[in-house]
Subunit: 306 residues, 4 copies
């Protein structure tokens, strides 16, 4: 099985989860959020309930309600909605995968379990298979985020013969700076897979190695700039592509110095988009307002002057 005619490519925003000021999920902001991405950022794909979306701080019930709302509101406006269904255990991931199929998600993604860490590529592949198997009609993506999960199995090993186990396998969200591993994924992939890069601050490097697109949190607010980066790259204008990439590096380098976790990132999105997305949930700390505003100021200095 291969979903060739619907290959995921270009920019994919990893969405934040809107909360009320009391920390409950806030469905009313999802529609405006989607409009903002499409209209202001030119971003037409989303990756929901992922790391940026604080999925691991949500209950299973909440994840379903959110996925449903994202899919519903995106219909007719977005190209694809990928629902992340990974969690620490198989049963609940399977439940979320089945649900994603029911609500018409464009695909599902699963991160490696990180409390009990799979010890080999084989075990990890089998774990992924058990989830993919309950939603066989949905394109399946593996989400590689070793800095957070501690699961450092090279993706090229995970991909070995994976279509035999997972016929719906369709690609990888690759969030690591190991570009040898990424390059090998590219060089060994069939053409219908999507290899999406997930380290926003060095996307240009991955494009040089053949990335088909990118998934990241910063595309929520620098999407249109990075769309320009990709266009410049595709037309052979490396100087322009580099110039945009360097501006994002400047912004993020500054943000990292101030401490840049999901909470700060979310508040930055609030500052830049005007969308009231609420605070993060514990154990992520709410972002002190001046911190986000200082980064937003940098954003206006650097990124907008492209």
């Amino acid at each position: 099985m291969a979903f060739v005619d619907n290959k995921l490519a270009g920019l994919v925003a990893a969405t934040f989860t809107p909360f009320t000021s009391q920390g409950e999920i806030n469905l009313t902001e999802i529609g405006p959020y989607i409009n903002y991405l499409v209209e202001k950022q030119g971003v037409k794909n989303i990756f929901v309930n992922g790391t940026t979306g604080e999925s691991m701080s949500l209950s299973v019930a909440e994840r379903k309600i959110l996925a449903d709302e994202w899919c519903g509101k995106a219909r007719g406006k977005m190209d694809q909605v990928i629902v992340h269904v990974g969690c620490m255990n198989l049963k609940e991931s399977q439940e979320l995968a089945r649900h994603a199929a029911q609500i018409g998600a464009s695909g599902i993604a699963v991160i490696a379990p990180s409390f009990y860490k799979p010890s080999t590529a084989d075990v990890l592949r089998t774990f992924l298979k058990e989830i993919a198997a309950v939603a066989p009609t949905l394109p399946f993506y593996y989400y590689h985020l070793p800095a957070v999960t501690g699961v450092n199995i090279p993706v090229r090993e995970v991909l070995q013969n994976i279509e035999e186990l997972i016929p719906s396998f369709s690609g990888v969200k690759f969030s690591s700076s190991d570009l040898m591993d990424f390059g090998q994924c590219v060089s060994h992939s069939p053409p219908h897979w999507s290899l999406l890069y997930g380290v926003d601050e060095q996307l240009l490097a991955a494009l040089a190695l053949g990335a088909h697109g990118a998934v990241g949190s910063t595309y929520n607010y620098v999407g249109r700039h990075i769309n320009n980066l990709i266009s410049a790259f595709n037309s052979g204008d490396l100087i322009e592509a580099r110039s945009i990439q360097f501006k994002l590096q400047e912004l993020l380098s500054h943000a990292f110095k101030l401490g840049f976790d999901v909470g700060v990132n979310k508040q930055l999105m609030v500052e830049l988009s005007g969308l009231p997305l609420g605070p993060p949930r514990l154990p992520v700390r709410p972002c002190p307002l001046p911190q986000a505003q200082e980064i937003a100021q940098k954003y206006h200095n650097f990124v907008l002057h492209i």
Copy 2:
């Protein structure tokens, strides 16, 4: 609030979760398991749904059913049943904590969330408080396991003024080899807290620094030997205590060389106890039989000849 008259001390077995051969939870083995611990190992406290119990591979629903069964079958036989209610998100931990209170657990324990890692002692303490607050009548234990969670905040900092936030705070399961941190927990704790050590292979070191007891997976099958170690230590016979500790080190050193994860550990328990506890769940790999049998053989060589 202080639960002085019921201070947790001595050995606490971190229980394995019995599964059927198909990987479903198997309640029928819980009664025999408890009898085995009491009768064969002299162990009268258990820590259920923890790391050894594969809690993070269980659904919330399964964790409740298991906790209920452990509490029910332990009644009248065991001194204390501590139910671990930690998971990645607050809502489900709170649900589990409320449930633990309803079923008559002796106490609850919570591990630090490990996907989004708390960045300061203050954030972690607040996270713990939100869970403790929904089961205020239950003694509350913090479970420190930095090698797995990646949360390395010194426990002494987590404990600072913790009773102001968590009146039911009662102690720590301290599973780290940082004995300066452990020593400071001991020296700064009020007398009604239990500081339980969780690195089985160096328990004697923690006893020297004032540990009140121990929680660990090996006490499932070397409980009676380690009870002897504690008795020897308490009576001032360091030579004998050391001799027993060295034998456990010998066994575990051998096991570590062969790869000693929860799956191997569980199969070793099967070999030594005769209880049919089933395989582990993915992503933990089932243990090849010869591997567990080789460790069991070492057990018979080393530990039994005490």
Copy 3:
């Protein structure tokens, strides 16, 4: 001071140190080694007494003799000889730096001290300054190799105002996969600095971000292929550049699986070049012959068919 007319660019081979079969330095192979690089690999710059050259396993006296020989034999054949003079202490590094100036080295490089690790960019910069100051006429390069040194200070911070302290500062050998840091070095560097990338298996990524050249051990035996990669990149032929990069990744991925330390790497060079470079020194293990031969076989399969 700026050495503009002599900017280091293109490929730089990090040379192995030839030893006799008894493990003593073997000067007689240095001339043939240089001829091989120039004639067979098209490589005209070398980086001597670096990590590949087992510098830290050499005495100060040996490092001087070797540097002298490399400079002498390279004269008239090579463009530049960069002598690495870093070691654990300032005094001996200064002695080596003074010596490098006397023997006509083209430049010197210094790695961060790794036993006592500098705690800030400021301390590291001051350490580097003390060495550069004794050889002020030589272009000075900072050698960044965090995976080995454990010194993870972002290079962009080390470079801040560095010309005020080190007027001879001329560039960086950047051996890390953190391409945000690398990109920021590129975007903030004056035009006369050389930013040379040192992770051979992902050079193409660094070229996309503006690398001026590359220093690495594999250029000893894949230099002519990587020269083609650079030419393809410069002429806008990313498809060809990628194809060559993927072949090197294929080779190295295989080598890493077999264990690829300096000893194996050296033996591979022996197999591929025919130069008798001898075994490595302890604590590097001599490479079992079949291991190097298996990698050499892969080399012939993959790389030569470009």
Copy 4:
């Protein structure tokens, strides 16, 4: 060969290297330093040119001069002077080992090389053997400091059959909190070896497991207190031993919070001993005076009131 009649035991101070204010080695303070240790701290063994002594920041020539002076001035006053001769390369370590034998050192110690890290116990053992072999009459100690060297090979594996390779082998300076490994070293050692523990803040734990003594930097200024700890332990008074250990933990915990590297430690020694030991060398940062004085103040509050 076994040096039974001269087994190293009790406290060993890892000495600081006295520098002038210009950073040159300062021999004139070595005599007074030794008097201070003997008279004020009751410490009669020293470990010179180790990590505390900034050995890796000294040239080979300086290390010899220092070793000579320590041995000379200690004669008749101290029991044993262990000279650390480890460095990154074999040749210079051998030179230092030969020199140590000539000047009448009581023994030599060698740390694992940390730039090129030995990949197996076998390689490390062979490396150590090459050094021990040039000074066969001197008791030889392996110095295990994995947090700094990154060499994590279990010591129990290094010790396997080591006397066959190194007949002069006499013990270990074990500076790690892995007390399973330490326990196994104790349980498998012949009686004439000395297993000396090197994590000062948890010495009591190691004593419980059978440590024969301790080597550490804090014994320069808390030697007499820790002598009391050892006496209390030996006489079965765990309460008193614990109380002293907890006070040292209190002091060091505070110091760690303020940043406690060799530079701060040295300045603390200056404050407490009155000996003008000078600043540390780069890359260790000189300690801001208030920082050392604040720790010294804590010392007076906590440790002296024993």
